[in-house]
């Protein structure tokens, strides 16, 4: 690449040095590397003597290396090695399986930065990069944001190698391919692109690869940044890439022909392409009996609309279409609204905003304070508000139902989209009644129809129509009957089960 590495913008000398080969003299090498790592207090340079005659140095970062192993497997055998001719010119005696030699200063610097240890011996060309990486990491825990009653309790962690191992343990096939990318000029985050060859469609893999390669950013802190960098439509409120914390969800996606993107230092994996229907699926749908899975899924579809529309319908009907409610209900509502000083629209907006604020506060606050917030919050949008005559009781119910139904979305990003879209719909229906409501619904549907995720229409299988795939979108058919992989994503290998397989004699 001819593009200058922006890392060394202030120091062209280092940029030049990067290309140069390591020298034979350990003193020179140490000097040069010292220039690269000037003021890096966490770098350890340990000098020792090999075979009582040659100077040697190991470089590593504190806290990233297993020092015990380094001492036992590298330094001790080298220092005690008998000086015999010939052996002196090699790194023999180092008993580490994952090692490689580096030639240039650039390679040396990069290998130290990835957490490996670099061994240099005076008079030997090149250096030895040893994988002795070990750092503090969270162990595999139950996923916090996607818990299930029945199903595996393992979740992804921040360590990439653990995450790939979790997937590899579930798919023991050489067709599961993992392509590695390095993203972020400074962070050099490793991104793994995982797919099953034959099931995933080649052009989608190619498309994601192309987009990943085009990313130029200084740092990747979370998979959300990858998501934003490669997604199709930046301005849409709907997530076009599914995020999950669960290896079983990721594997299910792989078997459908979708592609999983793992990012270093975050437990959240990305799944692309994504459709709206797949955002409405929860892993538990498949772990419960299919009647239950189907019913729960329908309930979720119902509450999808309630979360989106309930306050708007309430506002529209109460301000414009009073004849649409049964008389007794209207009289009840009229009684409770009689003293309320605000118009219905304002009342709804106030309550929804307060509810959103409470939810946000509840998430962000430390756990000890959190309970205080929920108590105060329950008072604010509950009984106290009604007693103070600021808000009518039906409105509190509507807000509460809306809140609960937005929690029913199995995918958190999808529920955020609904929470957000609720407000413009509410305002439009407050101004134009049901007409405004329909208008905004039409806008949303139009938008959803134009939305694509890596070439896959977002509303598939409803639009374009693929009735055979309704088996896993409209209902959750018994697994016996889902013999084909969803044709929306799948490549060459279309069958899940043999068509002729007899389930039972």
């Amino acid at each position: 690449m001819n593009v200058p590495e922006l890392e060394y913008l202030d120091n062209p000398m280092l940029e030049k040095l990067e290309q140069e080969m390591l020298s034979l003299s350990i003193k020179e090498n140490a000097d040069v590397l010292g220039q690269f790592f000037l003021d890096c207090a966490d770098l350890v340079m340990h000098d020792f003597v090999v075979s009582r005659s040659r100077a040697a140095t190991v470089f590593y970062f504190q806290g990233l290396t297993d020092t015990m192993q380094l001492e036992m497997q590298v330094i001790r055998p080298l220092t005690t090695r008998e000086a015999e001719s010939g052996e002196l010119d090699s790194f023999e005696g180092v008993v580490i399986s994952n090692k490689k030699t580096v030639e240039s200063y650039g390679d040396a610097v990069r290998s130290i930065l990835t957490g490996r240890s670099l061994l240099l011996i005076d008079g030997i060309k090149g250096g030895l990069s040893l994988c002795l990486t070990k750092f503090e990491a969270r162990s595999v825990e139950e996923p916090q944001s996607e818990s299930v009653v029945r199903g595996p309790r393992e979740g992804f962690t921040e360590t990439l190698s653990t995450n790939t191992s979790l997937l590899r343990r579930r798919i023991r096939s050489s067709t599961m391919k993992i392509q590695s990318f390095e993203l972020g000029r400074y962070s050099k985050t490793i991104i793994d692109l995982i797919y099953i060859e034959g099931i995933a469609r080649d052009e989608i893999v190619q498309q994601i690869t192309d987009r990943l390669l085009a990313v130029d950013i200084d740092g990747i802190l979370e998979s959300a940044m990858v998501e934003e960098a490669i997604e199709d439509s930046t301005f849409s409120p709907f997530p076009q890439i599914q995020a999950t914390e669960r290896p079983d969800v990721a594997v299910a996606a792989l078997l459908e022909g979708r592609i999983v993107i793992l990012t270093e230092n975050t437990p959240i994996a990305l799944i692309a392409p994504t459709t709206l229907a797949s955002l409405m699926q929860s892993p538990e749908d498949y772990y419960q009996r299919f009647w239950i899975g189907t019913t729960i899924r329908w309930l979720r579809y119902l509450f999808f609309f309630i979360a989106l529309l309930a306050p708007s319908v309430y506002v529209a009907i109460l301000t414009f279409h009073q004849e649409m409610v049964p008389t007794t209900l209207l009289l009840r509502v009229a009684q409770s609204r009689e003293e309320i000083p605000f118009p219905a629209l304002l009342e709804a907006l106030i309550m929804e905003v307060i509810f959103e604020a409470l939810r946000e506060a509840g998430i962000r606050l430390p756990k000890q304070v959190g309970s205080a917030v929920s108590i105060v919050g329950a008072l604010v949008i509950g009984q106290a508000a009604i007693q103070a005559g600021l808000v009518s009781a039906p409105m509190v119910m509507v807000v509460a139902i809306t809140g609960i139904s937005s929690f029913m979305m199995p995918q958190y990003p999808a529920s955020i989209a609904l929470r957000l879209l609720r407000f413009p719909i509410m305002i439009l229906s407050g101004m134009f009644g049901i007409f405004g409501l329909m208008l905004s619904l039409l806008l949303i549907i139009t938008h959803l129809c134009t939305l694509h995720s890596f070439g896959i229409p977002y509303l598939s299988p409803f639009s374009p129509l693929r009735p055979t795939e309704w088996k896993d979108s409209l209902i959750r058919a018994p697994i016996k009957f889902m013999k084909q992989r969803p044709g929306t994503y799948v490549g060459k290998n279309k069958m899940r089960q043999s068509v002729y397989a007899k389930t039972r004699e």
Partner: protein, 388 residues
């Protein structure tokens, strides 16, 4: 020419916000009309009485006690019905809302004179609801509405509107009848009736009896016998028990009607118009005070069907006879049946329908099927060992 996207967005926002919610009407700015009374006033004017519901503002809060609202009754006169309404609207701060009106009550004087203009408003204007019921009353509607002293009178009105047996008097049905061939129908009559409640006498609205309306004018009132005879042709009215005494003795048997259907078969033979009305009734035994054991092998259920058939056809016949001879009003919808079956003949004889109806040969056939003798068979009339 290209407008920057942000300017366009601003324009949209402004366009949306400027008109705002100008035509919104909050529920708390409304006076919900529950019942409307329409009377004749002096000088060809109309007196409009409305009963509006205004929610009780003092309620709310934790006690949840007196949550019922208040019902106000007020009346004004005007040239026409909408005119009287606008007079009323001018004086009051709350907007009148017709969407939930449950009853339109016509005073007798107006009903006798003809209700053309008022029907026109009810059918034409967008606000009055088609599901509301139209009633007549034997006094002025104003007096009737004012006499209702029960605080829950709106409840009564709502329940009344849900009653299946009153479905034929809804605005939409009345509109259909007026547009139909015979232009005659019946309307229920509303009365105030007093009930005791917590030691006080309260007047609530009840519906009793029917009036015959022909060409939008009341031509007469049905007595109970006639009303019962005619009810069979309005399929909805099914909450009836019919009792009969067998063999002229004191032993009575009562059946509860479950379902009934009427078929009208018109025929024109050699220029002679006649109609056959087939009434089919499904019923259960409600009360058996005879000595008959209804579930033994003799199958008495079939035997008791016959007296019911005879009694009912007698009842209906007399009602139909009086319709033909006394009121000359085809409330049975026979004209429609003839029109359907004999469109050509109908076209020629449309003008003569009144004469034809008067001399129409109407046959009645009743077929009662009693299905269920009841859930227990303890015959309280029979002494032990005396079972037949």
């Amino acid at each position: 020419m290209s407008i920057p996207i942000w300017k366009l967005a601003c324009l949209c926002l402004v366009l949306a916000i400027l008109p705002g919610c100008w035509d919104r009407i909050e529920v708390n700015d409304m006076a919900l009309i529950m019942a409307v009374g329409i009377d004749k006033a002096k000088n060809e004017h109309i007196e409009l009485t409305v009963q509006v519901f205004i929610p009780n503002p003092s309620s709310g809060g934790s006690d949840g006690g007196s949550t019922e609202g208040r019902v106000y009754t007020l009346s004004r006169t005007g040239m026409t019905l909408p005119d009287a309404l606008s007079v009323m609207q001018r004086e009051l701060p709350r907007t009148f809302f017709w969407g939930h009106a449950k009853a339109y009550i016509f005073g007798e004087a107006l009903a006798r004179d003809g209700m053309h203009d008022q029907f026109d408003f009810l059918f034409r204007d967008i606000e009055p609801r088609e599901q509301a019921n139209i009633y007549l009353c034997r006094q002025t509607a104003k007096a009737l509405l004012l006499s209702l002293s029960d605080p829950n009178s709106y409840e009564t009105l709502i329940k009344m509107g849900q009653k299946r047996s009153l479905e034929s008097s809804t605005v939409i049905n009345v509109a259909e009848m007026i547009a139909s061939e015979s232009d005659s129908f019946t309307l229920p009559i509303a009365h105030a009736s007093s009930f005791m409640s917590a030691g006080e006498e309260k007047n609530i609205l009840i519906v009793k009896g029917d009036a015959i309306v022909k060409k939008r004018k009341v031509v007469g009132y049905l007595d109970t016998g006639m009303s019962e005879g005619l009810q069979w042709f309005q399929n909805m009215r099914m909450e009836r028990n019919v009792g009969i005494a067998l063999d002229n003795s004191q032993q009575k048997i009562t059946i509860k009607l479950k379902r009934s259907s009427v078929r009208v078969i018109p025929s024109i033979k050699n220029g002679k118009w006649s109609a056959l009305m087939k009434l089919k009734i499904n019923a259960d035994v409600a009360d058996n005070a005879t000595k008959l054991n209804l579930i033994d092998k003799h199958d008495h259920l079939r035997k008791i069907e016959k007296p019911f058939n005879e009694m009912l056809s007698r009842q209906i016949e007399s009602a139909v006879n009086r319709l033909q001879n006394q009121y000359d009003a085809d409330v049975l919808g026979l004209a429609k049946a003839f029109h359907h079956k004999y469109p050509k003949e109908w076209k020629q004889n449309r003008q003569r329908w009144n004469e034809i109806f008067k001399s129409l040969d109407i046959k009645i056939e009743v077929d009662t099927i009693i299905r269920n003798p009841g859930i227990s068979n303890i015959n309280v009339r029979v002494n032990k060992g005396e079972r037949s």
